[in-house]
Structure formats: C-alpha cells, structure tokens
C-alpha cells in the first residue's frame, strides 16, 4: 500500500469526522485529533529512511506516457520528507497543547476541524507535484488559518484576520495569475514537465513576469519585507497553538517551501541571473528590519511574530546564497526555527493562560512561579539567539559561513549585527516576562497544566537535540537528501519522471 496520499486523506477525512463524532460523544475530538496527528508524525518518521529516493504517486493510476504526465502526481523527495517531518511533528505538539488550552474557548470540535483542514492543506502543498494542486492546497491552508486566527472573535482577532485575508487573498490572486501565465507559456502545470519546457525555451519575458508574480505572491505568504505587514497582526491574535503552527510551520510551507520548490526545482535558480540577488535582498531586508521591529514591541506575542519575519529573512537569505552550504544552513535554520518558535509561542500561551496578559511592561518575575515555562522559554531564547551549545548556534554559524564562502562578507556582517539585535530582543523578553520583580497582580500565578507542559518540555528537548542533526550519520539521513534536491535544481524533472 502506498501511504503518500494518506498525508492529505487522513487529516481531510478527520476534518469531517471529528465534529460529527464530537456531536455524539462529547470530548472525543481531543482524543481523535491527537491520534491523527500522532499517526501522521509516525508515518512521517517511517518515511525518513527512504528520504534519499524520490517517490512519485500518480493519483488514479494515470501513469505518464512517453515521459509526459497526464494525471495528478504526488511527489515525496528529500525536501518533502523534511517539510512533512516538521509540519506533522509540530502539529502533534500543537494539538496536544490545544487539549487543555482550547478548553477555554467554545466549540473545540470546530477548532479541530479547522486545524485538520490546515494540516491537510500543508501536507498537500508539500507533496503536490504540480502547480495547480499546490495552489488548491495552499488555499485550503490559508482559508483554515484565516478562520483560526479569528477563532477568539474579539475585535482585534477580527481585524487581524481581515487584514490577513485581504493580503493573503491578494497573494493568492497573484499566484493564480502567475499560474495562468505559466500555463500559457509551458502548456503544462506539472513541475517536472514544466521544468523541462523551461530548460528548452530559456528566459522569456513571460517567464520573468511569472517569476515576479510568484515572488510577490509567495513573498506575501512567507511575510518577507515589504510583504510582511499582515503577520505581526495575525500571528499574535490567534490562539497560542495556532500561533505556534502559523509561525512555526505555515509561513514556511506556504512561503519558503513554495519559493524554493518553484525557483530552484522548476525554473532553476541559475536561469534568471538577478534571482539570487532578489532573494538575498529580500532576506537581508526582512532579517534586519524584522529584528529592529521586534525589539520595539511591548506585546510578547507581537515580538515573537516580528522575530518570525526576521528569522524567515535568515532562511531566505541562506537559500539566496545558492551554495550547498547556504542551502544546508537555510534548511537547518528552518527546522530550528520551526521548533523554537512553536515552543516560544506555546510558552507565551502558557503565560497568557495563567496571567491573562501578554503586555511585557506588566509581566515579570514569572520564572519562580512557572519554572517549566520559564526554563523552556529560556532554552528557546538562548538557542534562537545563536548561543552554543544549542542548535541555533549551528544554524547561525552555517549561514554566516555560507555568506562569506559565497563571497558576501559584508552581508555576513549584516547578519551578525541582526543576530546581536536578536539577542537583545529575546533577552528583553526573558527579562521582562520571566526575570526581574514579580508584579503583585500575578502573585497567584502557577505553573501551566501538565498537558500544556508536556509539549513544551518535548519541544525544548528536541531543540537541544537538533544540533545533533549536523552529525554525519543523521545529516546524511535527514538534511542531505533535501539539500541534494534543492542543489540538484532542475535535475528534479529527471528524478520525478525518470529518463
């Protein structure tokens, strides 16, 4: 049995069944959701050992004829496995956390439905082998996350979600526009097939136009400056597990992954000369401006949201270097950031759960009251700021190494300066939330419930262990296949279609 479609089918099915069963058996949705996400995480883990080879599943058995694909292809290669791993494991911890956290909101069944839709969409984006299916799954994710951002139905949530919808919708329109032109140009939507066509025709004005549309469309989804403005509103407004998903995974799947897939594997990063420079500049602008903006925040979750902009900037910067080292650094930082940012948002959720406040001016001294939250958040902050011996140190190291190695020492210096600002804002967060004097209002605060602590502890342990990913045997298994896929560029076509 081929399990590839299960990544989409299972959460999609669960999205329909969960509210129904919840309707008959109260409280079943907690169990069902976690069972589904746990199963998906296990399924992804079982894919790791075969990450090195590209697996293609043709839906409905429509095999390609004479090397030209007809049907819908689902492709799982090294990059997809890595993304699936990130998506499904973070999703598992988020659902585990939601059990207790979402109990304060009404209608958990609907929440889990939307969550499952979002998960199905993301898995779909990652395994889709053609542009249009990618677009459809992208929209499923986006619509689910619009609704999830506004799940609290307060005025701020609605406002944030509306802005998110308009900017996200613009992005979708531009992407669809791009797809239309792309189809006109290549007469195909399958990545592999299109890649061959583009390789044959070379650079045309239409291709450049499509590239710009995709850059802006997916740039909006991944919140690169100057396309970022929705993110600092939307991510903090969502309930904490959703913030964790949005910042940890969604922007990376909808933005970074899609950009990488299209520009590296379909169009080919070397095809258009200015493309690397564009990615580099978008990355640098985002990482610097995002860091500065994060430093100025008083709202804990908003600080984390701006930090996401900055960190995604690092990732895009690393990919923009285009060297093997840069790609490795980008992927590794992507994994690190997913784990750490989800952890930090879960921490912020625990603080909000106990104190009903996310204003850093009012908070303070919670370390003694909430040791688990405080310690895990400290670990995440240390790692995120790139201090050894944690994982973030190595991703910073690789990215800066790559930038000097690729001949951009000054951009490397800019990245270092941004990393110092990163240090400054993460330890502003630590100082103002967990250290210092405990405000009188929070004397009664206590540690978050166990079910919320477990995911935080697990993520903290994973974040400490992520540095091990760079050790040779593990790297060969997880990171290297993904690096090879990206580095291989348009060789992707041969891997998918053979020949």
């Amino acid at each position: 049995m081929n399990w590839i479609p299960a990544f989409v089918a299972i959460p999609l099915g669960a999205a329909f069944l969960i509210p129904l069963i919840e309707h008959w058996i109260k409280g079943s949705s907690d169990f069902l959701t976690n069972a589904v996400t746990a199963f998906l995480m296990g399924l992804t883990l079982s894919f790791i050992h075969q990450a090195a080879q590209t697996q293609v599943y043709f839906v409905g058995g429509w095999e390609p004829a004479e090397g030209i694909p007809f049907g819908i292809a689902l492709v799982v290669d090294g990059l997809s496995v890595l993304m699936l791993l990130v998506v499904n494991s973070i999703a598992f911890f988020a659902t585990l956390y939601s059990v207790k956290y979402m109990a304060r909101y009404t209608d958990k069944g609907k929440f889990f439905t939307l969550f499952m839709l979002m998960l199905a969409g993301m898995n779909g984006v990652v395994i889709a082998g053609d542009l249009f299916n990618m677009f459809v799954f992208l929209e499923i994710t986006a619509i689910a996350s619009y609704a999830l951002v506004a799940f609290g139905i307060g005025s701020e949530e609605l406002e944030a979600s509306f802005k998110y919808q308009v900017l996200g919708g613009t992005a979708s329109a531009l992407v669809l526009f791009g797809i239309a032109i792309f189809y006109m140009m290549t007469k195909t939507l399958n990545f592999a097939d299109a890649s061959r066509v583009i390789a044959a025709t070379g650079v045309t004005p239409a291709l450049l136009f499509v590239s710009v549309l995709f850059l802006v469309g997916f740039g909006l989804k991944s919140a690169l400056m100057p396309f970022h403005a929705w993110l600092p509103d939307a991510h903090p407004s969502a309930p904490a597990p959703i913030s964790a998903m949005l910042s940890g995974v969604v922007i990376k799947v909808l933005g970074v992954y899609t950009l990488v897939r299209i520009f590296f594997n379909v169009i080919g990063i070397g095809t258009i000369p200015a493309l690397k420079t564009v990615l580099l500049s978008l990355g640098v602008i985002s990482m610097v401006a995002g860091a500065f903006l994060a430093l100025g925040q008083q709202d804990m979750k908003r600080l984390l949201a701006y930090s996401s902009i900055s960190q995604v900037g690092y990732i895009i910067f690393a990919f923009g270097l285009g060297t093997e080292l840069g790609i490795l650094g980008g992927l590794f930082h992507l994994m690190n950031h997913s784990v750490l940012k989800s952890l930090l948002f879960l921490n912020s959720g625990a603080v909000v759960y106990e104190t009903e406040s996310r204003d850093m001016e009012k908070l303070g001294g919670l370390m003694h009251k909430m040791p688990v939250t405080g310690t895990t958040s400290m670990i995440a902050s240390l790692s995120m700021s790139g201090l050894p011996p944690l994982g973030g140190f190595f991703s910073k190291l690789i990215i800066i190494w790559a930038s000097i190695d690729a001949g951009y020492p000054l951009l490397g210096a800019v990245a270092v300066i941004a990393s110092i600002v990163t240090l400054a804002y993460y330890f502003k967060l630590q100082k103002e939330v967990f250290l210092g004097k405990l405000a009188d209002a929070f004397q009664k605060a206590k540690e978050a419930p166990v079910l919320m602590c477990i995911p935080m502890i697990c993520l903290a342990i994973i974040s400490v262990g992520l540095g091990l990913l760079l050790l040779d045997p593990v790297r060969e298994m997880v990171l290297t296949p993904a690096v090879h896929v990206i580095q291989g560029g348009v060789d992707y076509a041969r891997m998918v279609l053979g020949g």
Binding site: S155, F162, Q165, G169, Y183, D233
Partner: protein
C-alpha cells in the same frame, strides 16, 4: 491579445477598488473583481479559435478543441474564490458589529 489586455485591465480595476476604497464591503467587491479577472484570463488562455467543447466522441480527427484543463482549473478556482469571499464578507459584518464602522482607516487597533 486584446482580450488578455482587457482582462488585465479588469484585474487592475479590482486592484484599484481594493487599494482606494475605504468600505470593507467595497474592498471585498474589488477583491472579487480581481479574482474573476484572473479566472477569465485563465479560461481565455485555453481558448482556440473555432474550437468546440472538448468532448471525445468516436471520430475526433480534424476537430479543434478548446483546452479543457483551464476550464477545470477555473471551476476549482471559482469554488475557492467563493469560500474566501464568503469568509471575507462575514468578517466584514462581524467587524461592523465590533467597530461600528465599515471604514478600513478606522479599523486600526493593531499597529506598530
């Protein structure tokens, strides 16, 4: 070519609406115009002069078909567009209940 340019102009009209109008509902409308412009463009890309509906019968030799793929895709895109529009409009209504205004410039509690 003219029809392509016309649909791009339609797209720009939608964009104008989204950018310039203050009313949430009008923004939603501009949005829909943008989507329809793209759908139109997509269908037109599949058009072949003198082509017929792509229905395979016994003898298809010599007939020109319009490209069926864009039509299938546009159907999906319309459904997606329906979903987003419904969500957008319902949110506009909820926002009106909270802010008592449809003016996008007044809905700015989140900033900085």
């Amino acid at each position: 070519m003219t029809v392509f340019i016309l649909s791009v102009i339609l797209f720009l009209i939608g964009l104008y609406g989204v950018l310039v109008k203050r009313n949430l509902i009008k923004i939603a409308l501009g949005f829909m115009i943008m989507e329809y412009a793209i759908n139109l463009l997509f269908v037109l890309i599949g058009y072949r002069a003198g082509g017929t509906a792509p229905i395979f019968t016994q003898d298809v030799s010599g007939q020109i078909f319009v490209d069926p793929l864009p039509q299938a895709l546009v159907l999906t895109a319309i459904v997606i567009g329906l979903g987003t529009t419904a969500l957008l409009v319902s949110f506009a209504v909820r926002i009106y209940q909270k802010y008592e205004s449809f003016d996008i410039r007044k809905i700015r509690e989140l900033r900085g």
